[in-house]
Symmetry: C2
Subunit: 427 residues, 2 copies
């Protein structure tokens, strides 16, 4: 795939615009900064504002856009970051989890490799037509996907590997030196703060046309909205939002997904172990349960989310299994591949025969033995389901959505570029 | 030892004053907060101010006291924290290192136990006469010494064990909850920030008469003055100093010791291995070299400092050894026990026959095999010598020292209590 095939600047009477993946973006007259707060259920910023800890954001929402939108399903990190980066759902860009089962190769594959991406990112398209682009992620897992196709000179690095950045590879150097950070732990609030600090440095110095700052949900997996640690994290973000605004950028704050408690009143995790269930129904090991939340960083969620997809053995009675599983306690809905593709705009070749979604306070596992939740110090919080689909879309400019527009987090650059060009959003 | 024997409030015509260890302290009319920035060579705050990163402190020094004083020798953490806490040198309080050789017991002993303290702290004395006292340290090693003799209701805890504080043991609870911190690593800047944040919470809520906030030199051991990480650390401190000032307290900022690079131009540590030298001179294992910098936290300095004390075997020619060692490259001075006690006010029963001090850029070790410096990512920085004796004494009130007064860091509460009582310092 040529990541920018079909991407061109279209010049119209009202100025230059770029069409990427079928959507038109005006050339922004000032930097557009999208911050994706990983796992930012809207109660987080709402509680922090109510507690007086986000004074800048409070004022920004009074003057600008205080909206809620839907994230793409599954409500996981990779699909949504790539949707924000491409402006389109997983059916188009192909990244439908952190992880999938490649039925042709017969392998389970991490969805980190740029080869798996089926559409150009806005970063690739803009940078290849001369715009300046900077992408900074907390964890390194996203860096390769988000940096795919970026033209030379574009900036793309992760805070996790900020000690290893080079001009040749990342378009930037000496990130720790310029920000004054020591390399933070990958399991820390500081990893996100480094993204914000480095982003503000780059914004001030280089004034990129598009910037993307993608944080980690380490805090949200452990701490509920309004809790002291969560409030302190959002108070920290508020200071950086203020700085971005002061630097004259259009700021769009959104999230890749929400977050909910996944435990009972005693703090015990509520888990439906799907492999155990399918082993009993279709024979030991005959069905393959894929948990697309799985990634190399499992300390804070134990690979337990509220979405799973299941590959059934040949000859299995899919309809009967679907109906029976839908009746299991804690299961929200069970869809066939076709239904899931239509409803959630997913790529059918990268999901199983069934898609299973858990209720608000339940997660899906394989077998008890394969999920080590003994190390959790706090009750499990996670995401993946329909109950984590609502995310904030906060803008430091007024936003007038076209009538009937269903707002998605991946409208972030569409909103931002129009605001930065001083243009209304088209119907 | 009764830690407050002989401590009484003396009432004079100009108000109540308390005499502790022979020095008189007026009863403060507002909180006195002493911050001991561990390892704060004065170039740290000077560079951060020059770089515009400590705007509050810059203004405070213009209006208040911008002084330099001497720390006690050896320029290590425990002796100086206890001097600040007692107002007197190690000859009186007995703590002359982190570590010493008990010649009677024939054992090497960590100097963490309250039984080793020979004088009451100001915290014990003030709290036992009804004043409110709060002591917060970064590392737990100091907590027991500094909390010795504290009356019930006094607050004393370490950030290192902030997750374990109880009202019964520490006079406070839920420190992490109220500040919104997750427990920081003992090797982090955040450990010190938690001390500052918790201190400000306690100051606002309880308004203690005396407060002591003692940080860690983790940053200073790794990062030179003016370096980005050091500057960011001091910028963080500046915000907390501003808060303490805004809460109406008298603020005295000092340090337990300075800090210098201890390496050559290539970043290679410059070490004189004293055990090797003494083995050659007095026979293998006959002399015992004690490095009083040694503590349970050695990742950042490898137990290498610029001060050592040596116990010689019976019959050794002390004068000849002293003269010969003084000529070794990197050695600054060698003193006999008696000379060191007189010059540095040390307790003679807790040091060896010789005291050895290294030059500015050199440290003293035992044998090469016993110091693992392979893990150092940055060139070694350390302290212990005369070249780390000068420390800042910064006060948010004007200070007029009596004529001829030799300022010491352990004058901190003497200065602070007079300022808080609105009294001039007595001649």
């Amino acid at each position: 795939m040529n990541p920018v095939a079909g991407t061109t600047w279209q010049t119209s009477a009202d100025g230059a615009r770029l069409t990427v993946n079928g959507r038109a973006y005006p050339r922004p007259g000032r930097p557009v900064v999208v911050v994706c707060i990983d796992g930012s259920e809207d109660a987080y910023h709402e509680r922090a504002i109510a507690d007086g800890l986000m004074p800048f954001t409070e004022g920004m929402l009074a003057r600008g856009g205080d909206l809620r939108g839907a994230c793409t399903m599954p409500s996981f990190t990779n699909p949504n970051n790539l949707s924000i980066a491409t402006g389109v759902p997983p059916a188009v860009h192909g990244i439908c989890g952190n992880y999938f089962y490649d039925t042709e190769a017969g392998e389970e594959v991490m969805m980190n490799a740029p080869e798996l991406l089926r559409a150009p990112t806005l970063f690739a398209a803009f940078s290849q037509t001369g715009a300046r682009v900077a992408v900074i992620t907390a964890k390194d897992k996203l860096r390769r996907l988000l940096g795919s196709g970026l033209a030379e000179g574009g900036i793309c690095f992760s805070a996790e590997k900020a000690d290893q950045v080079t001009l040749a590879e990342n378009g930037i150097e000496k990130v720790l030196e310029s920000t004054g950070f020591e390399l933070p732990s990958v399991y820390s609030a500081e990893l996100s703060e480094l993204v914000m600090a480095a982003g503000c440095e780059v914004l001030e110095r280089d004034r990129p046309d598009l910037m993307y700052l993608s944080l980690t949900d380490y805090i949200q997996h452990k701490h509920a909205p309004g809790s002291p640690v969560a409030n302190r994290f959002y108070a920290m973000l508020d200071r950086w939002f203020e700085r971005i605004d002061a630097l004259g950028a259009v700021l769009v704050v959104t999230a890749d997904h929400g977050m909910n408690a996944k435990s009972d009143a005693d703090g015990e995790a509520r888990v439906v172990f799907l492999s155990d269930w399918f082993d009993a129904e279709t024979g030991a090991g005959a069905s393959r349960v894929i948990l697309p939340i799985t990634d190399p960083y499992t300390v804070h969620h134990g690979a337990l989310g509220s979405y799973a997809t299941v590959h059934l053995p040949g000859g299995a009675d899919r309809e009967a299994l679907r109906a029976k599983l839908a009746g299991v306690g804690g299961v929200d809905i069970v869809l066939t591949r076709e239904e899931a593709c239509e409803r959630f705009e997913l790529p059918g070749d990268r999901i199983g025969d069934l898609v299973v979604i858990a209720e608000r306070n339940t997660v899906l596992g394989t077998t008890a033995a394969r999920h080590d939740i003994s190390g959790f110090e706090e009750p499990l919080r996670s995401h993946g389901g329909l109950t984590e689909q609502r995310v904030p879309v906060l803008v430091n400019r007024p936003v007038e959505l076209p009538a009937g527009h269903r707002l998605r987090n991946f409208d972030a650059y569409w909103i931002g570029c129009h605001a930065a060009a001083g243009e209304p959003l088209p119907a």
